[in-house]
Symmetry: C2
Subunit: 267 residues, 2 copies
């Protein structure tokens, strides 16, 4: 069991930000990543569809005998985590709780902002999780549907992106938040723009980093550390052709991606 | 056979612009529309995946005994038309040739621009079709990946959208084109912005209108007109939940959509 890889899935590329952090914290663990690039994005779709796709994605990882499944997609985590937890005996973890926890700990004025896809925000899950931790916290949220295409287009800086960010974050700025959760794995790419719009007084919570910490905690608690002494090996699977994943993925990882295979999932 | 409906499919909502024009030109025809909203968009995906999805979409329409299939998606048409034409005995038509024909007829200085999704532009199909009609025409093209999310977000006007359009169309403007093909069914929604960037001297070719004319031509040539005297009936099928399709679809049609059902396609 200990020798098995950690499985990470996402609707596409965004989960690579989680992969990167897990790799950093647990350098000896093998990791299998699946990106559902044929059906991406999930953030514009319904609970039923996202759950159906997420179960198929996780089934694929389970079939590869992973020791743990990470839903590295906020939309998947928002909708499908209960279904996934019921389905497998191995630990299943999403990106919502880690981010919510960090935000609840970080806020001093008890006002937290959350941004994410339309689906994640409409699910209300961050608000629920944050208020479960501290009911005194006021949560304000905003969906930012153009952030994912902007990040994938590579328009990470510049006037246009700043204007779009300013428009999405306008209402949140008025709520006097001191902490904001980047509730979509693509958003860390736009961090500098988001920071420039919100100002230095607002702390940005990146769920990728928090999720990696949570993964490490579970691995340690369950005594599942890979005992080998060599570095971890990484395999990537995608449902569409690997080329674009390879190209844009390098932007997320800051390094090239090898070992990518196309697979049919849910067909 | 004559009494059967016309089948139209698209990756999602965009094909409603084609539906609208077909309905206008052929008001007595019944129409079945399928939008693959669970797997939308196609324009960011590979030829293999788009063809596989398109065949599944068209199979669904064929199963409903349509008399003709319209691939109302530029990306589908770019990649999958040969496969679809081989597969069915009924007529299959896409949106590329009608737009290409109109552009080839319209240009006076023999310089045509084409804009579309990354997939459509990288296929080079418009250039091929236009130059087949007139090899003297020079074709310049540009992909505009943010146009679809902008149209779906409803940001059809305003400074941000204009700035994005200006950036995408900058290189085309230098090519002295007098005609441009809107090679994606979402783009007609951004027509006024595109016009304001390119100036009045450039003629905009909307493939939806041209495709409807081509559909009517085939119906007449094959003597497939529905002989009934009452108005056409319309049914809509989508692969994700109907709510968002209903909401954003109204923006495309300018009227409400009734009779929408969710179906599983390709599962």
């Amino acid at each position: 069991m200990k020798e098995r890889p950690i499985g990470i899935f996402d609707s596409g590329l965004g989960g690579l930000t989680v992969f990167k952090e897990v790799k950093k914290l647990l350098p000896k663990e093998d990791i299998v990543y699946f990106g559902d690039t044929a059906r991406v994005p999930y953030g514009t779709k319904s609970k039923d569809t996202v759950t159906r796709f997420s179960v198929q994605d996780a089934d694929f990882l389970a079939g590869l005998k992973v020791k743990m499944i990470v839903a590295a997609c906020n939309t998947s985590s928002s909708f499908s985590l209960p279904a996934l937890k019921r389905r497998y005996k191995i630990p299943v973890i999403g990106v919502i709780k880690p981010g919510a926890q960090k935000a609840a700990n970080a806020t001093k004025n008890l006002r937290v902002g959350v941004i994410g896809t339309r689906a994640t925000i409409s699910s209300g899950i961050y608000e629920k999780e944050i208020r479960k931790l501290n009911p005194k916290i006021k949560v304000a949220s905003a969906s930012c549907p153009l952030f994912v295409p902007l990040a994938e287009e590579g328009w990470l800086k510049g006037k246009v992106t700043k204007k779009i960010a300013a428009r999405y974050l306008k209402a949140l700025k008025k709520k006097d938040i001191d902490t904001i959760v980047l509730g979509c794995t693509h958003y860390p790419l736009l961090m500098s723009i988001i920071r420039s719009v919100l100002g230095k007084g607002v702390r940005l919570i990146d769920s990728a980093t928090q999720t990696a910490i949570a993964v490490k905690k579970i691995i340690d608690e369950k005594e599942m550390r890979n005992p080998k002494k060599s570095k971890g090996r990484y395999r990537f699977y995608v449902s569409d052709e690997p080329e674009l994943f390879k190209k844009i993925g390098a932007r997320f990882l800051g390094s090239n991606i090898k070992n990518i295979k196309r697979v049919d999932v849910g067909a």
